[in-house]
């Protein structure tokens, strides 16, 4: 299968290792990965902050870039949630029938990384090896908008050597919420403080998630407080093998 990678804007710039990990896992499973250079951002930041017309422009770009893709794999739940739940509305508001049809036909071919592996490819064991204590934070969009359910857990449980520790109050938001983190910085920080405490309570060395946005937020506090606990996108753990530990 030719899998088209939508890296997402912030992962491209801030977390390139996640993209490399996604490529590594998909290629290990025998798929061809392609990267289309005209891709940029799904428009989530604009849309969620109230800039709908700007988000619509970015939706057009996304739809144009991937319109003939066999499958689009995205290492970010919240971007996929934007595409699935907000694009149909944004497209409808343009009144452009062709755009609405283009978006409608593309959406079923867009997958979050962990659901792509487990539900679309039917793979729970990607042959990874990662001998560490890990806890998983189900990001709000993965949990509620995409209903990822046990998909990430199945993938992690099949990683050899990995000790998966359940995160207390795991369904509580970390307080990121895009521009919420700066518009309501104090509330956001208070929510983050609870999340950090839960993570520390697990004793895990690493907190993983399907979203680098939440992880960037969580890492910000884990590092500020010198907890020594790290964060990584789930793809980075799944990319690791005995022969090639993922760095």
């Amino acid at each position: 299968m030719i899998v088209s990678l939508f890296i997402t804007c912030y992962t491209d710039l801030m977390f390139p290792q996640t993209g490399r990990a996604v490529v590594k896992v998909l290629e290990r499973l025998g798929h061809n990965v392609e990267f289309r250079n005209s891709q940029t951002c799904c428009g989530q930041m604009h849309s969620n902050t109230g800039y709908a017309s700007e988000a619509t422009s970015l939706m057009r770009r996304f739809a144009g870039t991937f319109t003939d893709a066999e499958a689009v794999c995205v290492p970010s739940s919240s971007c996929v949630a934007t595409i699935r739940t907000q694009y149909p509305k944004l497209a409808a508001e343009t009144g452009n029938i062709a755009l609405m049809a283009q978006v409608e036909s593309l959406i079923p071919r867009v997958f979050e990384f962990s659901e792509f592996l487990t539900r679309h490819l039917g793979v729970d064991d990607v042959g990874a090896y990662y001998p560490h204590h890990v806890t998983y934070h189900p990001s709000c969009h993965g949990l509620r908008a995409l209903q990822l359910g046990d998909a990430p857990y199945r993938l992690l449980k099949n990683v050899r050597g990995l000790d998966l520790i359940d995160l207390p109050q795991k369904e509580d938001c970390c307080g990121f919420g895009g521009t919420f983190a700066v518009k309501n910085a104090d509330t956001s920080a208070a929510m983050l403080s609870d999340k950090v405490r839960s993570i520390l309570d697990t004793g895990a060395e690493l907190c993983v998630a399907t979203d680098n946005s939440c992880l960037m937020h969580i890492f910000g506090a884990l590092h500020r407080e010198r907890t020594g606990v790290k964060t990584a996108h789930i793809a980075e753990v799944l990319a690791a093998t005995e022969a090639e530990p993922f760095a």
């Binding site: 710039l13 509305k89 509620r144 910085a185």
Partner: protein
């Protein structure tokens, strides 16, 4: 028309009020404890319902239908009330409703009224208005009594005094009740003692006062009946003991038929208090010569609801059955409590309802008082897609900002425009990344940015990940063996 929603006039923007609330240790403890308890109870009660999702869908379907035909159902309701010997009054806004109620009380030369918990009366600030007009209102719901005696505001839709613990309640009672006259020498913070004290304080008023004011959970169009669901029995007393009953009801409280209660009564108590049923469900229709009040008035209140109804995306806020499950589920609410919202309707539902009732005036920060985590939507028994409406309202806020000269030049607007420009020109991305790396240079410490000028709202409490030397797209371009699979879809 003057639409007013209690507290909003004097309210500070949410971020400012929240900053203060977050530093209130006692408030944080009380709110966290209470919301955690109700959340757990609700989860258990919902889990035992195999058809919960179908019930939610039914609830939403009924509410959607009612809103579609609200004019017809309201007329049907009016006919039902009149047929049963009651009187219907229409109030376009808070001022009209308050005048109608005051005049009705004056007609009976009454100087005091008993009240059963009604958010709608809090919405129109009825108590302070009555007091200013020489009428003393007595709240009879325990939590509302605490709020009234403490000269406080409700902070929750179902549990208005949730921000107070029993020690604080004991202090309020000791200070504001004539304990000696009531034969109580020393009050303790034991919940039973507190409840008993409130009971003694109220009982005498239930028997004396001749006019009662209630709200309603549901107004049944088919029969002209009203329904009040409550836990303490104070409602039952207010609805049955006085000579005159005045019920203030928002126009969105209509349901078509008695049969529809089947859906809502299964969901309300489970969602609100984590109980299968509330201890008291009172249903009444007009007046009965042998029992209950001799005179019955319904005041149907608009106060901005018609504005909400006119918005096809926002109108789902009118589905709300005031269970407050969204408040208890909300991580923002559970950290700030209700007062930070500066609106009689706090929490996620308040963040979408109040700005719509007020057409954004004085409530522009509320649609942003959410991380869009979606816990509210998941908990809502009538499936109000709160995150969707929040985004819709944010778009309205931004649009009105853009329309003003200053707003168009705001830092946020310019930043969003620049980001869009960059994302529309992927060929510029790598140069922009390069600039970011150069710009961050002097700020990087230990692999992160502990301080970034202009981004202190982030860096005050969190380190920022540094931009790494190579972006994904740069890595992909330089991956020799894979170059052939790169293609441009433009």
């Amino acid at each position: 028309m003057s639409i007013r929603i209690a507290q909003t006039k004097s309210a500070r923007p949410f971020p400012e009020a929240a900053r203060e609330a977050i530093q209130d240790t006692q408030l944080r403890h009380n709110v966290r404890r209470a919301t955690n308890t109700i959340r757990t109870k609700r989860a258990n009660m919902v889990a035992e319902m195999p058809d919960w999702q179908q019930l939610r869908e039914s609830g939403r379907a009924i509410k959607r239908h009612v809103l579609r035909y609200l004019d017809l159902y309201l007329e049907q309701f009016e006919q039902g009330v009149t047929r049963a010997g009651g009187h219907v009054h229409w109030a376009q806004d808070a001022d009209e409703a308050r005048q109608i109620i005051r005049d009705l009380i004056a007609q009976h030369n009454a100087h005091e009224v008993i009240k059963v918990k009604t958010m709608t009366s809090d919405e129109i600030e009825l108590n302070s208005y009555l007091q200013a007009n020489g009428i003393t209102p007595y709240e009879t719901d325990l939590a509302d009594l605490i709020i009234q005696l403490g000269e406080d505001y409700p902070s929750h839709i179902v549990v208005p005094a949730l921000h107070k613990n029993r020690a604080q309640i004991e202090q309020i009672f000791s200070k504001r009740m004539p304990l000696k006259e009531m034969g109580i020498d020393h009050l303790t913070s034991d919940p039973n003692a507190l409840a008993d004290t409130a009971r003694r304080y109220l009982r005498e008023r239930f028997l004396r006062v001749k006019v009662a004011i209630s709200g309603a959970n549901y107004a049944i169009a088919e029969t002209g009946s009203l329904v009040v669901v409550e836990s303490e029995g104070n409602g039952r007393m207010c609805l049955t003991l006085p000579d005159v009953l005045i019920s203030l009801v928002g126009i969105e409280k209509i349901i078509p038929s008695f049969q529809d209660l089947e859906v809502f009564l299964q969901m309300l108590a489970r969602s609100a208090t984590g109980e299968r049923m509330s201890p008291y469900t009172s249903v009444w229709t007009g007046v009965n010569p042998d029992d209950g009040p001799k005179e019955f008035h319904v005041v149907l209140l608009d106060n901005g609801r018609a504005n909400v109804l006119a918005d096809d995306q926002g109108r789902q806020a009118l589905h709300c059955i005031r269970c407050a499950a969204c408040l208890n589920a909300c991580p923002v609410y559970s950290h700030t409590g209700g007062h930070a919202y500066g609106s009689v309707y706090p929490g996620p539902i308040g963040a979408i309802l109040t700005p719509q009732l007020l057409e954004l005036n004085g409530a522009r920060s509320l649609p942003y008082a959410s991380s869009l985590c979606g816990a509210c939507y998941e908990a809502c028994p009538v499936m109000i897609n709160i995150p969707e409406v929040l985004i819709h309202l944010r778009t309205k806020v931004v649009q009105s900002e853009k329309d003003s000269l200053l707003g168009g030049l705001s830092i946020e607007n310019l930043a969003m425009k620049s980001a869009l420009h960059l994302f529309e020109h992927p060929e510029l991305l790598e140069s922009a990344y390069c600039l970011a790396r150069i710009g961050q240079g002097p700020l990087v410490e230990n692999g992160v940015l502990p301080y970034v000028p202009g981004m202190t709202q982030w860096t005050r409490t969190r380190d920022l990940v540094a931009v790494p030397p190579q972006s994904f797209r740069e890595w992909w371009r330089t991956r020799d063996s894979r170059n052939e699979s790169t293609r441009d879809a433009a």
